[in-house]
């Protein structure tokens, strides 16, 4: 069965590259343009991995992560922050909140895909 991945980001150009790369690796790809859209999707399905941007309009990455942590059916989903914020304090804050991986922009699409596959193995 193919793995489900949810990409949460408000930059369409970035999402487009990730979508293309994950689909190539036979992931089932879902896309949300911000936290609230992501929540809507996750109410209905449980992704294996969630790629989460932090700085988004309305509901941001931190809030979404907290929401994920409060949901029983999402407890096995891997959450990866994918963000331009690369200060140590930001990374610490993310890890403290229970994020599985913290990846910073700009990134190599190939590397992201490999990291996710490794995480789900």
């Amino acid at each position: 069965m193919s793995k489900k991945i949810l990409i949460v980001d408000d930059e369409p150009n970035i999402v487009m590259t990730l979508e293309y790369a994950f689909k190539k690796q036979s992931f089932e790809v879902f896309i949300a343009r911000d936290g609230s859209e992501a929540k809507e999707i996750m109410e209905k399905l449980t992704p294996d991995a969630i790629l989460l941007d932090i700085m988004m309009p309305q509901v941001d990455g931190y809030q979404t992560l907290e929401w994920i942590k409060s949901k029983e059916h999402l407890c096995n989903s891997k959450v990866v922050f994918l963000t331009a914020k690369n200060k140590n304090s930001d990374i610490e804050k993310g890890l403290e909140l229970g994020v599985d991986k913290y990846l910073t922009k700009p990134f190599s699409v190939k590397k992201i895909v490999n990291e996710i596959i490794e995480l789900l193995a």
């Binding site: 150009n13 590259t17 190539k24 309009p57 309305q58 331009a84 922009k105 700009p106 990134f107 190939k110």
Partner: protein
């Protein structure tokens, strides 16, 4: 009027007064008592029976001559305020209770000087009190002239009983505390009430005479001008008369400072220094009102009675003659009030002096030192009570035996001349630090001998019908020594003449002796304090120089004898706390010595205090130069302390400023960090897009469908543009923010600029189905940087196009010039700016939370840059909601050159 009836009224009045003072004392904290009006009215104790009756007599007999006595105080008032402020401060600091204390303190708490000043005051005051009693007695007679009951012996003389009641009254209210510096608020308030009564009643009789008995002032003048001796009433007396007036004015000028009762009400009973300010206009006004009708009552009496009656009592005789007994009674009570307040205050003042400056220091000090606290308190009270009775009884005897032949006016003037003996030491001593006690004593003695020779002896001889040869021919027949024309000065009236010579010789002797003898260090010490009260107030107890050896316990023993155990303990505890000394300090220092002297001054007088304290300590002689040096040093220490304090305050201020600057820097730093953070984030986004797309294009070139490949290439272009725009805007914003870029301001027509912008965005608007409407067409010339304003307009209009209604989008632009400003508004028919965004919309990189999930196409800096540009032009920009919805951005810039 029946004299029993009058006696009843008098006693009822006295009883009322008693109750009044009693009630005032009970409510002594009341606003009604502690106010500047009471203070100023109490100064009116200056107006005695002499004013009340005597002025009228003078007006009737010699015209305007009554006036100088009131002109003096009026002229003195400005100086009075200044000098009194200084004196009140000194007096409060040193617990001064009388003018004798004050003068003796200035000259080193000199015992002999205190006694001499007391004697001078005594000589001036007792006949003056007698004069008041005489006024009571004579007015009583005038009032009861038709009564059948006649008085012969002392015990039938109601004046005697009135005197005794007054003595009881003063004793009862003024000797409740041993400390004479305690304020008699009740008595002062009653004096103020009496001041009102005597003025109102006197005005009443003035109006009565002028407008009821006569037809106004002109009528009186016309009638009196028909009299034979009218010329005498209006003449001024030429140059000689003028000089005479000058001396009389000067005499009363001194009197307002020096009369014991004036000193008492204005200094000793002063509750607040600022009360002085009210007196500056109220007291002259009071005197003016008092003198308003004097001349008319006097002349009116003269017209009606001719020379048949005693002119002093016209104000009583006129209503009595016309059968208006009640009117006369009011006048009588007014005069009676004047008498009571004068007698009461004078007696309090004089008895304090007599007990504290004469009896205690010269007779009872030893006895008091051996006694116990309770005994001493009773003893001191007893001394003061006996003084009060002695003064009043002596005054009565003087009245009964000597005053029959003397007019009110002449006795009053003699008192003034005598009291003026204190003028040189008082006034010069306040401003000249060399004035010495020896000089003062010598001056007063010489001055007094002059008065005795030129005024008192001739007066007595004349009054008792002695040989006037001595007066007319001079002593031993020497023309130069004629008492009223000493050394050929024969154009002055006797009081002026005596005053001139005594003042002149007194001053000369004072100055000469002071300069030519070596002063005592102690009096020089006090002199410094008096002359420069700033020294005293800044140095406080430190201002007094003292060297020697003393035990605190010895001093305490003395204090206990007069203040009692409890008060002494309390005072010493306060003292130790004030100077941060341990409670068990063994040796006394200069501060304690002076503090103790001050404590005792109120109870036994300054001179006695000094003697007592000196008996407990081993004092060393300090040289004059040393005194000055120590004072100078203390002054310097204080100044240095002040300097240090100032410096320390400056430092604290600087530290505060530094802290502020620092926190501002930290804030700036944080803002910079945040800015860089945001910039980095904004830049990373397009780079990430470019990198991802490029990576995929490279790796997956073979398998990628052409449509996807084209999309990725298009994305790369788009992101590159976005990247370039971002960098340009960031740099632009930075340049504007740090004012690095100059504005290229020129005078241009705003209309042209606007149409240029509208032309360049028309294409973009059309492609978005938006119409741009410029509703203003007129020229608007002003100074601005065209490129920048084009940037602003482009930004605002593009924003409008972006947010305008999708169906039939509209953007309106209008402008006008109002109050030297250009006002521009750009509005659209879109959804408008959400309320929660209005406050932040001009912030850099602000992203609305309500962007409806559509990523903004701009850099996040557009409005921030716009705002900077407008601000650089000296204007401001803001946004509001249109009434029909839609955003309205408006800005204004001044039309003048920035």
């Amino acid at each position: 009027m029946n004299n029993y009836g009058l006696i009843t009224i008098i006693f009822a009045y006295l009883a009322l007064l008693f109750l009044l003072v009693y009630w005032f004392n009970k409510n002594e904290r009341s606003r009604w008592i502690n106010n500047p009006y009471v203070y100023t009215l109490s100064l009116a104790v200056y107006c005695t029976a002499w004013t009340y009756y005597g002025s009228v007599g003078i007006a009737a007999d010699s015209g305007l001559k009554f006036l100088p006595i009131y002109l003096g105080p009026v002229i003195a008032i400005p100086f009075w305020i200044v000098i009194m402020r200084k004196i009140i401060r000194i007096a409060r600091q040193n617990k001064i209770t009388s003018i004798a204390d004050f003068i003796s303190l200035r000259y080193g708490r000199n015992r002999l000087l205190g006694a001499i000043v007391t004697v001078v005051c005594f000589i001036a005051t007792v006949p003056y009190i007698a004069l008041q009693l005489k006024a009571i007695s004579e007015t009583f007679k005038v009032m009861t002239v038709n009564s059948t009951v006649k008085t012969n012996s002392i015990f039938n003389d109601s004046t005697f009983y009135i005197a005794i009641i007054l003595a009881l009254f003063v004793t009862f209210f003024s000797t409740q505390k041993t400390d004479a510096s305690t304020k008699n608020k009740g008595i002062i308030a009653s004096v103020a009430v009496e001041a009102v009564l005597k003025l109102v009643f006197f005005l009443a009789i003035g109006i009565y005479v002028t407008f009821y008995l006569f037809d106004g002032t002109t009528d009186i003048y016309q009638q009196v001008s028909k009299l034979d001796d009218f010329d005498k009433l209006i003449e001024f007396g030429g140059l000689e008369g003028g000089i005479d007036w000058f001396f009389l004015v000067l005499l009363s000028f001194f009197a307002i400072f020096l009369l014991p009762r004036q000193f008492h009400v204005s200094v000793v009973e002063n509750v607040r220094e600022k009360h002085l300010k009210k007196a500056i206009w109220l007291f002259p006004l009071y005197l003016f009102l008092f003198n308003l009708f004097v001349i008319f009552i006097g002349w009116g009496g003269k017209v009606i009675f001719g020379n048949t009656e005693n002119s002093d009592y016209y104000s009583l005789l006129l209503p009595l003659e016309n059968g208006h007994v009640f009117m006369a009674l009011l006048v009588f009570l007014g005069g009676f009030s004047a008498v009571i307040s004068m007698v009461v205050i004078s007696t309090i003042a004089l008895s304090n002096m007599v007990s504290n400056n004469l009896i205690i220091p010269y007779g009872f000090l030893d006895k008091l030192v051996k006694g116990n606290p309770q005994g001493n308190e009773n003893y001191i009270k007893m001394i003061r009570r006996i003084s009060i009775f002695t003064i009043i009884i002596l005054a009565y005897i003087f009245y009964a035996n000597f005053s029959i032949q003397m007019s009110l006016y002449s006795i009053g003037l003699i008192a003034f001349v005598v009291i003026a003996l204190l003028a040189p030491s008082f006034f010069i001593g306040l401003f000249w630090n060399r004035g010495s006690s020896k000089g003062t004593i010598a001056g007063i003695v010489v001055g007094f001998l002059v008065i005795l020779y030129t005024l008192i002896i001739p007066f007595i001889i004349k009054a008792y019908g002695g040989s006037v040869d001595f007066v007319n021919e001079g002593l031993f027949g020497l023309q130069q020594l004629r008492p009223h024309a000493l050394f050929g000065i024969d154009f002055l009236s006797p009081p002026s003449h005596a005053f001139f010579w005594s003042l002149f010789l007194n001053t000369m002797v004072y100055l000469w002796v002071s300069v030519s003898t070596k002063g005592n260090y102690r009096e020089r010490n006090y002199a410094e304090i008096f002359v420069d009260p700033k020294v005293a107030s800044s140095l406080d107890d430190n201002a007094y120089v003292w060297k020697g050896e003393a035990y605190v316990s010895d001093i305490k023993n003395i204090l206990v004898k007069f203040l009692g155990e409890q008060r002494t303990e309390r005072a010493l505890t306060l003292f130790f706390r004030k100077y941060d000394l341990p409670e068990n300090t063994e040796f006394a220092d200069a501060r304690l010595i002076n503090f103790s002297e001050k404590l005792l001054t109120g109870t036994i007088g300054g001179a006695s205090a000094k003697i007592l304290i000196a008996s407990a300590v081993k004092e060393e002689e300090v040289s004059l130069t040393e005194v000055l040096k120590i004072l100078e040093e203390s002054k310097e220490t204080i100044a240095r302390n002040k300097l240090l304090k100032d410096k320390s305050r400056e430092l604290t201020e600087l530290t505060g400023q530094l802290k502020n600057a620092n926190s501002e820097l930290i804030l700036k730093d944080k803002q910079k960090d945040e800015f860089l953070d945001t910039v980095a984030h904004e830049l990373k986004t397009p780079i990430t897009g470019i990198r991802g797309a490029a990576e995929l294009l490279l790796d997956d070139a073979d398998e990628m469908p052409p449509a996807v490949r084209d999309q990725f290439l298009k994305n790369i272009l788009q992101d590159s543009d976005r990247f370039a725009r971002l960098i340009h805007n960031i740099l632009d914003f930075e340049k504007l923010s740090e004012d690095r870029e100059e504005l290229h301001v020129k005078r241009l027509n705003f209309k042209d600029t606007l149409f240029h912008v509208v032309g360049s965005v028309r294409q973009y608007a059309a492609s978005n189905n938006v119409t741009i409407e410029v509703t203003t067409q007129r020229d608007a010339h002003l100074f601005y940087d065209e490129d920048r304003i084009i940037q602003v307009l482009t930004n605002l209009i593009s924003n409008g196009i972006k947010h305008a209604n999708k169906e039939n989008g509209m953007v309106w632009v209008q402008y006008r010039i109002l109050k030297k400003k250009l006002l521009v508004s750009v509005s659209d028919n879109g959804p408008g700016v959400p309320d929660e965004d209005v406050a932040f919309i001009f912030d850099k990189f602000y992203q609305s939370k309500n962007q409806n999930r559509i990523k903004p196409q701009g850099s996040g800096l557009g409005l921030a840059i716009t705002k900077r540009i407008i601000e650089r032009h000296g204007g401001f920009i803001d946004v509001k909601k249109e009434q029909k919805g839609g955003a309205n951005f408006y800005f204004e810039i001044p039309i003048s050159q920035i």
